[in-house]
Each structure stands twice: as C-alpha cells, then as structure tokens.
C-alpha cells in the first residue's frame, strides 16, 4: 500500500494543549470524584465506610496515574482530556455497579458484578497502556488493514458459530467457554474501524468519482457500490444471525459515515440509509423479534407489550426509574434501580438517571460529547488521512453506541442489546473501549509529531 498523493500537508495547528500537567490535575479531580461517589454509596447503603472502598477506588486511580506516566514518557503530546474523562466514566460505572451489588446483597442476591468489573478495569487499562507503549505510531496499524478485516469479521461472526456461540436475553452476541463469556463484537468494532479506515484511504479517489446524474444527483458507478453491498449484507447477516438490531446499526452506521468523510459524497449516505432502512423493515416483517422490539418501542406501556415475554417490561421499568430520579436524583444509594432487569449493564443509564437525576444524566452525556469531540478534533487536526479516518471512526463509534443505547433506554430508538461505553458492567466492552482510548491517545500524540510521522 503506497501512500496516495493526496496527502496535502496542512499547516499544523497546535490547538491541543500538550500539557501533561493539565491531565495530572484533571486526573486528581477525577480520582476525587470517584472517591466521593464510593463514600456516598457506602454511607447511604451500609452506613459505614469499609476497606472495600479502597478495592474500588485505588485500582482505577493507580492505573490512571501509571497511564499518565507512560504518556509523559511515550506520548507527551497526547490529548490531556481523554484519559480523565474515560476515568470519570469508568469510575462512575464502578461506583454504580458496586452500589447495585450492595443493594443486591441486602436483598439476598448472589450474582455480583463489582469485583469482575474491577478486574476487567485493570486488564483494560493495562491493555490501553500496552497500546500506547507497543504501538509506536498511528501508521503501525495501517500495516494490518486486511488482517483487521479478517479479525473483525471473525470476531463479529464468532457468536453465530456452533458450540462456542451463546445467546443471552435473546441476542446471540456472546461466545463462551465454560462459565466465561465474552462479547467479541466489542473488539470487532475496533478491528473493523481500522479496516474501514485503511480500505477507504486507498479507495477514496475511485469512490469519489461518480457517474451519471439522475434527478440532479450523481449516482456512483455500479462497481463502487460493491463494497457497500457487501457491508450491507454483512450487517443484515448480523441482524439475522445474532438477533441484534443495535450491533447491525452500529457497524453499518460507522461504515457509511466513514465513506462519507472519505469521499465527501452524500449520495453514499442516502443510498446507505435507504438500504439499511429497507433491510430493517423487511427483517421487521419477517422476524417476530424485530417487530416485537418496534412494538415495545412505540407502546411500552400498553398491557399487551408490558406483559409479553421479552416485551416492554424492562423498558417501562427503566422509564419509571428515570422518572423517579426527577431533576436532582435520589442520590447514590437512595433509589431502587435494581427493580429494572440488567440494571448494571444494558440499563445502567436508567440506574444512574434515577440516582443522579436529570442533572447527573446531562453531566454524563456532556462527558461523552466531550470525549467524542476530542476524538473528532484529532480527526480535524491530523495531517494524515488514515489517522483522520481512524480517529473519526473510533470517536463516531462511541457516539453512535451511546446514541443507540441511551436512546434505547429513553425511547428515541428501539431498545437493543449494546452496552454503554465505559460505564456498563462487562469485560469485553471495557477492554474494547479502553483500547479505543489508547489508540486515540496514540493518534493525538502523533499530531504533534505530525511532520515526522508523515515523512
């Protein structure tokens, strides 16, 4: 793969504050917020501070400061906001999962998630550190574009395989060996983003050439539609095999946005969106599960949907929980979020909305928006097209996933089985999102070293 000729070196705008000291202060703040949350959780549920506080507080704090040191040594120009935001979100998730565990213990529950989540947090942050250390530059990933494709498709389709594939709550998104389960789709999104970015960088010229004009719109040449058809078919396959509209929408949406950014042709968006809608509508007609999800979305409070098995009970209870939170929330430990099934994973946003209120939910949304905007900003400022697409893709995938999950809980879109990035319980999701954080940090550093890298 040769670099294409279009790499026009823009004048390098040094807008990202390359100051690790800012990051240090923000990390102190993030660690303090986390400590405050944990103290509130313990005081309001068990009314005493126990050493478990440190079990939940120290690992993210220590790992974050280690990451900070690694950045000072290996990527000193990296964006200073990304790590603290990721830490706040991960810490908040931990606090809520721990709080739900305490509530569950009080009610005689035995299925706990907190310790698993702590272990996965440490593993995920260590892997993020490894990414920063071992991936020397953004271009490193370009060498593995087609490996990424195979890896991505393999991971994506693994749950559909016999023997290792597992269905949980109707969606076949997991692989499992014995008691261990893993959601490979989360890692697939990174591999596929690398593949999309690498593929589009090489093909953007030919994709951008469009053919005849019909109704004032330039139609792409038939052969350029090929890859889009392949990805479209793949998404529908995911929808059919894994019974999850969210995953399907996530990959297709990611691809369409990257094609648009790479080519600047809005026709791909129009064609892509209409293809996806057609596919989804046909699937909705043919598959009960999809039409059921639509019914539940439109009428979650109708008794028929509410009482149906796999109906809108969870969605309705989640909304009751959010409404219970009102403007200010009940305070951590003050609500009853465990009334909602999967309060620690799919519905963690309802749990947080109940206890932190609309204000807390807004703060969470703003942090995601800030995280995503930092990523998009890297895309804006990076001189290299591959890195631009990679940063944009990884940021957009976080944004789209937030939209699909939180939108599912708040009835903006039908509910699907994705997890809220960095917040929700689940090792695969944490691992994948921390890798994204690592890659974004790595790419943002290379802006500073831009000239060196491109040359």
């Amino acid at each position: 793969m040769s670099m294409t000729s279009n790499v026009v070196l823009p004048k390098i705008v040094r807008v990202i504050p390359r100051n690790r000291n800012i990051e240090f202060l923000l990390l102190l703040f993030a660690s303090g917020i986390h400590a405050f949350e944990l103290a509130q959780v313990q005081l309001s549920t068990i009314e005493v501070l126990t050493p478990e506080f440190f079990l939940y507080w120290l690992p993210p704090t220590i790992f974050a400061f280690v990451l900070h040191l690694i950045l000072r040594l290996r990527a000193s120009e990296a964006d200073p906001l990304i790590l603290p935001i990721a830490m706040v979100l991960n810490g908040l998730g931990l606090s809520m999962i721990y709080r739900l565990d305490l509530g569950s213990i009080a009610n005689g529950g035995t299925e706990l998630f907190g310790v698993k989540q702590i272990i996965w947090t440490m593993i995920a942050m260590a892997v993020a550190a490894a990414v920063i250390i071992w991936v020397p530059s953004h271009l490193f990933l370009r060498r593995y574009v087609y490996v990424s494709m195979i890896l991505g498709l393999g991971l994506l389709l693994a749950p559909s395989l016999p023997f290792i594939g597992r269905s949980i709550n109707g969606a076949r998104l997991w692989i499992g060996i014995g008691p261990l389960t893993f959601q490979p789709g989360e890692l697939a999104k990174i591999a596929l983003t690398v593949f999309f970015a690498g593929y589009l960088v090489t093909r953007r010229e030919s994709l951008a050439i469009v053919g005849r004009k019909i109704f004032g719109i330039r139609i792409p040449r038939a052969r350029e539609l090929g890859p889009i058809l392949v990805i479209w078919a793949g998404s529908l396959l995911v929808l059919i095999l894994q019974r999850d509209l969210g995953t399907s929408l996530l990959y297709f949406g990611l691809f369409i946005v990257l094609v648009y950014v790479a080519t600047g042709r809005s026709i791909y968006v129009i064609v892509g969106v209409s293809m996806f809608l057609t596919g989804a509508l046909v699937a909705g007609r043919l598959m009960d599960y999809v039409s059921g999800r639509f019914d539940s979305w439109l009428n979650p409070f109708s008794p028929a949907n509410y009482d149906a098995v796999g109906g809108s009970y969870q969605l309705a209870q989640g909304i009751f929980g959010l409404a219970h939170g009102n403007l200010l929330g009940t305070g951590l430990g003050g609500g009853i979020p465990h009334l909602v099934p999967l309060a620690e994973s799919d519905f963690i946003i309802a749990s947080l909305g109940e206890e932190l209120g609309l204000i807390g939910l807004f703060a969470i949304l703003i942090m995601y928006l800030l995280l995503v905007s930092r990523g998009i900003r890297i895309g804006f400022n990076h001189p290299d097209d591959f890195s631009k697409l990679l940063a944009t893709g990884l940021s957009f995938v976080i944004a789209l996933q937030c939209f699909i999950v939180i939108g599912g809980v708040t009835r903006v879109v039908p509910l699907t089985g994705l997890t809220t990035p960095l917040l929700a319980a689940g090792g695969s999701s944490l691992l994948a999102n921390w890798i994204i954080i690592g890659v974004l940090l790595r790419i943002s550093d290379s802006i500073g070293q831009g000239e060196k890298a491109v040359n």
Partner: protein, 482 residues
Amino acid sequence: MNRELKRVSILIFAMFLSLFIASTSIQVLGAEGYSQDQRNVRAVYDSYKTQRGAILVDGVPVAESQKADDVYRYTRIYANEMYSGVTGFFSIYQGATGLESATNSYLTGQNSSQFFEQISALLSGNPVQGASVELTIDPVAQKAAWDALGKMKGAVVALDPKTGNILALVSKPGFDANLLAVHSGAESNANYQTLITDKNNPLLNRAYSELFAPGSVFKVVVASAALESGAYKAESTFPNPSKLQLPGTNVFIQNSGEGKCGGKSTVTIADALRFSCNIPFAQLGAAIGQDTIRKQAELFGFGKKVMFPMTSTASVYPENMDNAQTMLSAFGQYDVKTNPLQMAMVSSAIANQGVLMKPNLVENVLSSNLSVLAAPQPEIFSQAVSQATANSVRDMMIGAVQRGVSGNARIKGVTVAGKTGTAQNGQGQPYTLWFTGFAPAEDPQVAVAVVVADGGGIGQGGVGNSLAAPIARKVMQAVLRK
C-alpha cells in the same frame, strides 16, 4: 475531509441533542405521570424508606415499624388484634385504612408541621423520621370492651363526655393486621382474600363505618327533641292503649311486653322511656313531627360525617316520611340508621349538660426528637340540648337503668344513666341489640354505646338489656376502675 467532519460533528450533536430532549421529557416533564402508573412500585417503596412512626397507647406501641432485612427496610408490626378497629392496616399491596390512613402524613413525616425537619433532612441527606401518634384510648377500657364482646359481632365506643376523647373503640371480629403487612405480595393478597370473603367481614368497622337500626336507643333523641320544643316535659302524658293502628295502614304496633305501658290509662314520657314503650313514643313522634326530630338528631350529629381523625359514616334520619313512618322512626325503626360512635355522642351530650364535644382519638403527635407537633384541644361539636333538657333526659335515663328495663347496666355504688335498644330487622331476622349511657350520672366520666349485631348469635332470643347492657357496664366499670 474537514468539511465532511464538520457535518459529522453536527450529526453527533443532533444525536446527543435528541438524548437531552428525551431524558428531559421523561425525567422532568413526564415524571409525575409515570410516578402514578400503578405498575410503578417506587412510590410504595418510598413510603417504606423512612421509619414510619408508631401508634401508641399510654406510650406502648400498638403499631410500629421495625427494621427488616429486605428492600422495604421496615416491617409494620401490630401488637394486638383488639386495636385493629383503631389502627386499621398498612399494606404494600392493599393500601391503608383506619388511623394508618387518617394520620399517614404524620406517620411518614411528610406533614407540613414537620417542614423544618424536612428542610434539615434535605440538607443533611438523612430521611425525615415519621412522627408517632399517641392515642386517647384507655387500654383498660379497650381490653374490657374487647373481652366483654367475646365472640359476638358488634362494636363498642366509649367517650369522655367532657373532652370528646375516645377511651375505647372496638369492632368485632377484629383482624390481624400483620397478615396484610407482610412483604410478600402473594401472601398479602391471599390473606386479604381470606379476610374480604370472611362472612363476618372483619375488615368492616362496626364502630363508625357500618350503620344499624337503633331501635329504642333512638328514643333518647326523640325525648330530647320533645323537651327542647318546649311543648313537653318529662311528666307530659299520652294515652296508653296496648295496640295502636298506624294511620293510613292496617298495621298495629305494640309495646315490647305486648301490653299497656304501666297500669294506668295514661303514661308519662319519663315512664315510656323507663319501660321503653313504643306506643307513647309513636304518639309523641307524630305530635312533634319529623322536622323537629330531624333538627334534634342533626344537633347530635346525624347526617354528618365526623373526622376523629378517621371519617365516620353519617347516621341517617330519613326525610319525607308519612305519618306512619314518622311514628315508626320515633322508636328507632323504619329507615333510621346509626352507629355506636353516633349513639355514644348522644349520651355524651346528655352527660355533658347538653354540650356535645367533638370525638377525638389523638392525644398528641410527637416528632422523632419528641417535640409535640400537634395536640388536639377539646372542641365543641354543638350545643345539642339545653342544660335543663339534658338534666331532665339524664334523669329519665337514670330511671331506665336504676328502676327500669335497662337494669343490667347497674354498677354498685355508681349512678348509671342509660337506655337499651332491641331493633328489629324484619320478619325472622336477628335483632340488633343496643345500649347507650353514661356514668356516674352526677359527674360523668364516660359515655358509652354498644351494638351487638346479628342478635349476638342467638337470633331473636336476646334483647339489649340481656346482651348489650352488661358489655357497657364492664366498659364503664373499667373506665371508673370500679
């Protein structure tokens, strides 16, 4: 590519904007509606979050919330079935009745009198504790009433005539409110079904909710009306036949002994009350008219709901009756309906020189830090009759107990005033048996009303004096500690 990136940024912003709007519409704009959805159990859980205040009798809890190890945090514990007619129940699944409902805002700590506690709770993060409610109930009298009713279906209300304080309030059969306070929905619902289908209907409060035909105890009201009208005195006489045809009908009424009322050709109002004769009262009723009787009945509280703080069912004196019906109503038949609380109020007014005090069950309300949030003061309900009428009716009632047909209420060394009643409920139906009265007549400490429903289990075999009067005697003895 940056032009496209800018558009993607706008798209991302729009996606998040939709999340901001959706969450606002759920959490703020729609919150009220969602909280009222009956499938949303959070409001119920909330009511269990703070420790609900206790209901106390002489400082001893008859209902209290104790720590529980489940999501509801507290379990409501009821000490004794004999208070079920007072406390009612507090259930996650069946709601609340009785005092649990009537004083709910105090018990939950949400009453406006706890405003400052609520503010400090908001600032400190500790929930407001419920206030406890101390009752006016005399536990000795309550137990006497409960025991005296035995297995009979009925109710007792005892009042302090000078203050209106309720000293005893029993409805039988009672129920075990703990059965409904259990946290398991299946268990609570099953227990509720058992109670609601029980043929004795234990959840029905016979002391202030159910209405009964009063029979002869209503003669106290009619006698008061006659004296208040100024046209009659206790010694005023009426003809004394042994049978009387109701005007416009071929129905004859008789006195309960099926003879004359005493041996003379005429009978006084005082003797008619003493021997509980129907014919003279029918004539008296026709003479003074239904409007006079109704006016008097309403001064005693008929036709009004009383908040004490539970809400009673209003007693009924019918309207637009013809002469025959007026005559029947004058000895408490036809469609006259009342309950023990109302009849205790009638006795209490006579006992208190005509001044009817408003019944009240709450001595005071104490916040968790023991400051007094409310202490209801005695309130005048009405000047039901003049002092002279009260004294005159009192003397007639003394006659009924000391020298008349209500003798089973007599207490050695104490002058008791009272009146029995044996109301008919139709051909072959068991009687409703009554007693109402007060003691000591010279300085009344207690006014009481007893109703025994379904003939006390022996159909038409019992009368007020045989079944209801002894219960009233035991309650009065308990209050007077005699």
